[in-house]
Symmetry: C2
């Protein structure tokens, strides 16, 4: 199977699992379930669940139920997008080429839809068909990575407060290590934990996750400068307008690209101990670094 076919196949598997874990639109109260589904099924690339599945496959190929565990990452990611887009935060009207959740359902329902997806992420993990010890480890991993201390929300706060500050390399790295890095790292780790990785295997995959997390963010920043809103499906050039601290702002485009390649190389190197077992995960790294949107 080509990488493209593999990715399409896994995306479909994740979408089917998301459809299973999300309440139906007809379920009372219908409005909130429509808002949740609107944002979850808006055409996301499912990068985090795909990383989790590919990481799990390194340890135990085709671990049953991994796609359900992986859904929790997409639920967290989607909630964070809904809340980030709110008028009180980034005030964005466009996401993945469609009006944002609050533009369609109103601010109140968007706030509650975000809260609901966040809550559902942990409900899904608690109900997995897996040993309790493993389920609780996944809850710990996801909650820590999404939280305020070195996690997603902490990075988001630093990012907001960093606007209009002098963009230094240290500030930049600390923001992104938390804001997007923590959840991408957790994606790889959760896949590994679900599949029963040994401590040495988990360490290697964690290093892979850290490299790929940074690479992802650098590429994201570069695309925001280079691509049109139409291609990205969200408002392009927003970082510069909001004076966000980005890799291109600190290092320029060319150097940023080089850095992304270096992180990609580091990611490949972290997988050395797995040999051919990590081929797909390795390809995923290339896919993330060389994507156009």
């Amino acid at each position: 199977m080509t990488l493209e076919a593999y990715i399409a196949c896994q995306q479909k598997r994740v979408d089917q699992a998301l459809d299973r874990v999300l309440p139906q639109e007809s379920e009372n109260p219908s409005t909130i379930h429509r808002a949740m589904r609107y944002s979850v099924f808006a055409g996301g690339k499912r990068v985090r669940p795909l990383l989790a599945i590919a990481a799990a496959d390194v340890i135990t190929p085709d671990a049953p139920g991994i796609e359900t565990a992986a859904c929790s990452l997409e639920l967290i990611h989607t909630y964070s997008l809904i809340h980030d887009d709110l008028p009180a935060l980034d005030n964005d009207d466009l996401r993945r080429g469609r009006p944002t959740c609050h533009k369609v359902f109103g601010d109140a329902m968007a706030i509650l839809a975000g809260d609901s997806l966040l809550t559902l992420a942990f409900e899904v993990l608690s109900k997995l068909d897996a040993p309790a010890e493993r389920r609780v480890e996944l809850v710990r991993e996801l909650s820590t990575a999404s939280g305020t201390v070195g996690g997603m929300i902490g990075g988001q706060v630093n990012d907001i407060e960093g606007e209009q500050q002098t963009p230094t390399a240290d500030l930049l790295e600390s923001i992104h290590r938390a804001k997007t890095g923590a959840l991408l790292r957790a994606s790889v780790r959760m896949g590994a934990i679900y599949a029963g990785a040994s401590s040495a295997e988990l360490d290697a995959l964690t290093r892979f996750g850290e490299h790929i997390g940074l690479a992802f963010q650098i590429v994201d920043d570069v695309l925001d400068v280079e691509q049109s809103s139409e291609a990205l499906g969200k408002t392009a050039g927003k970082d510069a307008k909001q004076q966000k601290i980005t890799f291109p702002a600190v290092y320029g485009i060319e150097k940023s690209r080089e850095m992304a390649e270096q992180e990609c190389t580091g990611a490949h190197r972290a997988l050395a101990m797995f040999g051919d077992r990590s081929r797909r995960l390795s390809e995923m790294a290339d896919f993330i670094v060389h994507r156009n949107t």
Copy 2:
């Protein structure tokens, strides 16, 4: 020990545990941790943690660490208050006698502080010093009770959508069973689960939790009509102004009071099998129904 002294003692125990689980204000990013602590330490009565502790005491007196598990309920409750008070939802400036979180920290930080408390609640449960099977059961209980299907958010959505609808008895009960009832029921159940209740014991305590949940909401509605904003520490008379569906609106004040007493009696009856072991929990029911604020 008198009931008042017992409650004061348990409140202090819960406050100390909350102080332990919440990141210090000095921890980066400081702003979000100040916002979280501002709202958590705003003088709440800690009704949900106290119910959890008293329920646990029925099964295993002084179960070590129960106060930490109980904190997760207060974190969820506080997040829901912060988000409810936002301009996009109830738009309230006053809570527990102080300016609401968004009045002090701004809307963006209030949204993120709510998200953070919600996330932290599950992190706390995942890290408890208890068997994994029990921890994961608590995550399942709390996430379900806080969610959209028969849980807190679902009730909140029905409540918003119920404004200006004809207030019927059925609609009223279904809203409150979810909006406040689910989390109060979960409080009792989580205490019982933490302490290792048998299936029969859990059933009895669940019935207690359902009665007390309904009684709590009826009293809350009555107090909103009868008390001043000053006494309540939040804007009084708001339900009528927003045309919320309340017990006094459907049944009148006198009948509502009687219903609260009936629920209280039902709560006491549910505890029959425990004899004197449930004395404190039984007293908590009276405290909830006969409170003035």
